[in-house]
Amino acid sequence: MSTTQSWRTWLLTEEPASRRQARLAAWYKGWLSLRANTLAMLGLAVLALLILAAIFAPVLATHDPFAQDLGARLLAPGEGGHILGTDSLGRDIYSRLLYGARISLYIVGLVVMVAPVVGLIMGTVAGYAGGVLDVILMRITDIFLAFPRLILALAFVAALGAGIENAVLAIALTAWPPYARIARAETLTIRNSDYIHAIKLQGAGPLRIVTRHIWPMCISSLMIRVTLDMAGIILTAAGLGFLGLGAQPPSPEWGAMISEGRQYILDSWWVATIPGLAIFAISLAFNLLGDGLRDILDPKEDNQ
């Protein structure tokens, strides 16, 4: 108990003695604030469960997600050793759910690595440079913003063939404009702050100012927006899967599972509903976490 106490005092000290301590202390205080928000912690717990399910899917699954058993079609949850029942081809829904978590995370991960990063760069450069560069970059952003996501996905499928990578590409290409706008709006405000004037007066060039002074300020609003968008991205991927544009059978992607279970919904409701509930739970978890992050990231540091 005493070592945890001393860690706490070290992290909560008023006078940090090193860069590392100062940074860890800031993270710790943020964590304490987040922990106080029950709903956000609930969201975080659900997401942690998702990640664990995805990582340990081979261990946690009871059956092979691709193994068909036509003699055991459409079993209700609990019957015949299938925790959540079976689908129209006798595949275990629970196991497919677990492996499907991997696909959902894959989609989310890819989009998060691309969209906010591209948006951040476009937005901050446009906002800081101003003038013609701002106009050009923002018009490009508008063009991408105007693309209807599903049509773009259809176009990719028509051109490149169906598959989950193409779905992700379609989503990522249409997801970055809002981030660019947020980043640009933040940059326009930050650009006039005295601390930016001050670092200019030290002789800092635009690259240093944008990457080391403006990006850290934009990151928190982008992070909040990303978590809130996660829900939408998963739903979009599910929608594309539902339309057959994303993951292809026999892949256990949740949207595709809902699509396959659609025709049985009146008699065997669990085939479509259970993946739907999973999507709902993950979306809700991201929303709650995003709200919690917004509470700790926005008011405290910027409204001193």
């Binding site: 008023e14 006078e15 940090p16 860069r19 800031a26 200019k200 007066l201 002789g203 001193q304």
Partner: protein
């Protein structure tokens, strides 16, 4: 040799019908080692002059010479080594996500200072902050402490001229006294030249040798601090300012 020389400075914002002239045909000279005050009411253009010198204003005309270097559209690295600025709002002049250490070491790095760690200790000492403040974030500092950090940042390059934009107007009276004492000490110890903007004649009378009075973008008069203390001004506007400040006694 003058530290700063301004001739026929005009600063404007906007173009055509929407143009506002913030500074109109201002000329003044600041001697080396002098403490020069710029006073006026809000909208008089005093802060704008400072920003024009610092290169933070894009549209200006006239001629400005600082420490022998004539200023053009952009400022050179050599300029930034010689001239630094302290801003008005202590709550806006430090990056919220950077520690004091980061702020000061980046400033020193940009100026090519070699022994950053050793200089850091001396800088913090010079502004009256102990080593315990080195790794704090701005939200862990009081207004007066933040302003000290801002002053330390300005001193990082060992400048000759310090531009001070109402450095104490956002601070409590007792903290203001500390900072004013600090500024007086620093000027004496480092042989600095000050150009200080303030709306408060008491502060300017305390720290400055000569004062320029601005009204509506124009220079009304330049007078010495002794004349100011005797309430002897040439122009009626200056007289009016002096009398108002005596009545309010700040």
């Amino acid at each position: 040799m003058s530290a700063l020389s301004i001739e026929h400075l005009n600063v404007w914002f906007g173009t055509g019908a929407e143009r506002t002239d913030a500074v109109r045909d201002v000329s003044l000279d600041v001697g080396l080692g002098e403490s020069f005050g710029l006073v006026g009411e809000s909208g008089s253009g005093k802060s704008t002059i400072l920003r024009a010198i610092a290169g933070l204003v894009p549209t200006w005309s006239g001629r400005m010479t600082v420490a022998g270097e004539t200023l053009g559209k952009k400022r050179s690295k050599a300029f930034y080594r010689k001239v630094q600025m302290v801003f008005q709002d202590p709550y806006g002049s430090l990056h919220p996500r950077q520690t004091v250490d980061r702020v000061l070491s980046e400033a020193m790095q940009l100026h090519g200072v070699r022994d950053i760690d050793a200089r850091m200790g001396r800088l913090l000492d010079d502004v009256g902050l102990g080593a315990g403040f080195r790794f704090r974030f701005p939200h862990q500092l009081s207004g007066g402490q933040r302003q000290r950090v801002a002053i330390a940042r300005a001193l990082a390059s060992e400048p000759q001229v310090l531009l001070l934009d109402e450095p104490t107007s956002a601070l409590d009276v007792s903290v203001q006294a500390e900072i004013l004492n600090l500024l007086a000490d620093l000027r004496r110890d480092h042989g600095l030249t000050y150009v200080m903007v303030s709306h408060d004649l008491g502060i300017v009378g305390h720290l400055c040798d000569r004062i320029a009075v601005m009204q509506d973008g124009q220079l009304v008069e330049v007078l010495g601090v002794e004349a100011m203390r005797r309430l002897e001004a040439q122009s009626p506007y200056t007289q009016h300012l002096l009398e108002s400040s005596i009545h309010a006694i700040r």
